[in-house]
């Protein structure tokens, strides 16, 4: 978006650099002058908050890797060593563990914000797809990181999640052995998970760069969903949104710090402070809270369908529940982006949110009795929302009249 550039190299050195590597020009265009809709609310600060989360995880993670040992005989003790002996290790380890939860909390808010305001609609489909890809990479990274402390939940999470791949017909078992490096989860598994857990955050950082690139082509969506028409609709990113984002980050760090300093283990599970034993499964295994909705979907499928057995079917639904997000831009047929102007969509949106929270709750409950039935109902509704409700709504709903421009909507609000 060079047309927004107001950069003129000030000194001889800047001019010399600008002709060879225009990095100052690029930064000024994209980090300072970038025209941003003037009506963005605080839900839009989560993009910057997520960048902060990724940086926190990378910095604390690199430090933890200096003290951690990826060997089944020593891994569990090395994490305890970090928590007890390493200078400041208690806080650094807690920041990394709590940081994963905060990262997912922020990403869920970011995703649900995009869903409400229709940020996935044309021309932002690629931006959305890259976002879903980041979400998938985050899940893989978080899962492998959770295995590293080698507690009971770590080992059994590794067993259960790698077993998901065994459900694939024909290549399932060889694939399972390839992933584990053995017939069961053991030292080769732990060692490679450590290697990949170190690698993936940098892959995420690269996809984040693409995500921001794809954002800077059409520019930000905004709460009205109406496209930017002229310069009266926008403000330069700096200082208006750098300050707003910074303020959002500070607010976000309050609960973050509370967890680290006062309840570092509250989001974890006590069983993970028992070293992994491949012969005893804990009485009630649950994943970390951020995987619960998908875990509930996986467990809900306990019946065969035609020639597909329950295990494979569960895996298909589990994978499908995330992969369907890739198709969201085409499943939602409404031309109106923002939920603020879609009277029917708003109700279904909140129903979907409630259903998602219900799945989270059900994922943490034991797999019997009424919980199985409720999980099935919520799983069905999750898919119905995407496959039936969204395509139909776009056809039958009459949206409320849209403001002609962002600036008009802002001005009419200030007069009211």
């Amino acid at each position: 978006m060079s047309e927004h550039s107001t950069y003129t190299p000030g000194s001889g050195i800047e001019k010399w650099l600008d002709e060879r590597l225009p990095i100052i020009r690029f930064s000024k265009e994209h980090l300072m002058d970038f025209p941003t809709p003037k009506n963005l609310n605080y839900w839009w600060t989560f993009g910057a908050i997520l960048v902060m989360c990724l940086l926190v995880q990378i910095v604390t993670g690199v430090i933890l890797a200096m003290h951690y040992t990826p060997n089944i005989g020593m891994a569990f003790d090395s994490v305890e060593h970090i928590r007890r002996d390493v200078n400041g290790g208690r806080i650094i380890q807690a920041t990394h563990a709590v940081g994963a939860s905060m990262f997912f909390a922020a990403v869920y808010i970011h995703i649900f914000r995009g869903m409400y305001f229709g940020s996935y609609k044309a021309p932002r489909e690629i931006l959305w797809i890259l976002g879903v890809l980041i979400f998938l990479l985050m899940m893989a990274t978080a899962f492998m990181g959770y295995v590293l402390p080698w507690g009971q939940m770590s080992g059994w999470a590794a067993t259960v999640i790698t077993n998901i791949f065994a459900a694939i017909p024909v290549i399932g078992t060889p694939l399972l052995e390839l992933l584990r490096g053995g017939f069961s989860v053991g030292n080769p598994t732990l060692n490679r998970f450590f290697s990949l857990h170190y690698l993936l955050p940098f892959v995420i950082a690269a996809v984040v760069a693409l995500h921001i690139w794809a954002l800077h082509v059409p520019g930000n969506n905004n709460p009205t969903g109406v496209s930017v028409k002229d310069s009266r609709d926008t403000l330069p990113f700096h200082p208006y949104y750098t300050m707003k984002d910074l303020f959002g980050m500070v607010l976000f760090m309050i609960p973050f710090a509370w967890f680290i300093f006062f309840a570092p283990d509250i989001l974890g599970h006590p069983d993970n402070y028992i070293q992994f034993d491949s012969q005893v499964t804990p009485a009630h295994i649950v994943p970390e809270w951020y995987f619960l909705p998908f875990y509930a979907i996986l467990r809900a499928i306990d019946f065969n369908l035609l020639f597909i057995d329950s295990k494979l079917l569960g895996v298909i639904f589990f994978g499908g529940s995330i992969l369907i997000l890739f198709l969201l831009p085409w499943l939602d047929t409404s031309k109106v982006r923002s939920g603020n102007f879609r009277p029917m969509f708003r109700w279904f949106y909140w129903l979907f949110v409630i259903n998602f929270v219900a799945l989270t709750y059900l994922g943490a409950q034991p797999a019997d009795g009424i919980y199985v039935l409720l999980s099935k109902i919520c799983t069905a509704y999750y898919f119905i929302h995407f496959i039936v409700i969204l395509p139909v709504l776009g056809r039958i709903e009459t949206p409320r009249p849209l403001p002609t421009s962002i600036s008009e909507s802002v001005l009419s609000k200030s007069h009211a």
Partner: protein, 174 residues
Amino acid sequence: MATQSQHSTTRRDFLFVATGAVGAVGAAAVVWPLINQMNPDASTLALASIEFSLAGIEEGQSVTILWRGLPVFVRNRTAKEIEEAKAVPLSELKDPATDESRTKEGHENWLVMIANCTHLGCIPVGESGEFDGWACPCHGSQFDTAGRIRKGPAPTNLVVPPYEFISDTLVKIG
């Protein structure tokens, strides 16, 4: 342009395809070892078979042993459990198998099974559930006294590993 491409293939086209094909095979040959290194290594494969003595396992007692890093249930079943398993009609089973097919002739009291639930690999808890067999704590699968799946998401019965009786009290697994 479109009509010109109808001409017979040139020497350049042939070289292009041939170079591409050789390059693709070369790339695959380089990638394969990079993936294959993740497969079970020689030290893991070396644990392929074990011998285990049954002496000292009383009727109604179970032990769990390790084979290839996998836990294996060895259960000396009671007469009541064998009866229960034999009484189940095959039509009631999700993965039909007779009790005889899951044990060795002459040693019907011994049940040897890989202890990982066939759903996602948790270890079911013995002598529990509605069928007096095993119940998986993770996702609610229940197995009967012959280790057959009766309820829950597991698709198949608990797996019987390849094993043989060397003598009345010694089995070789693997």
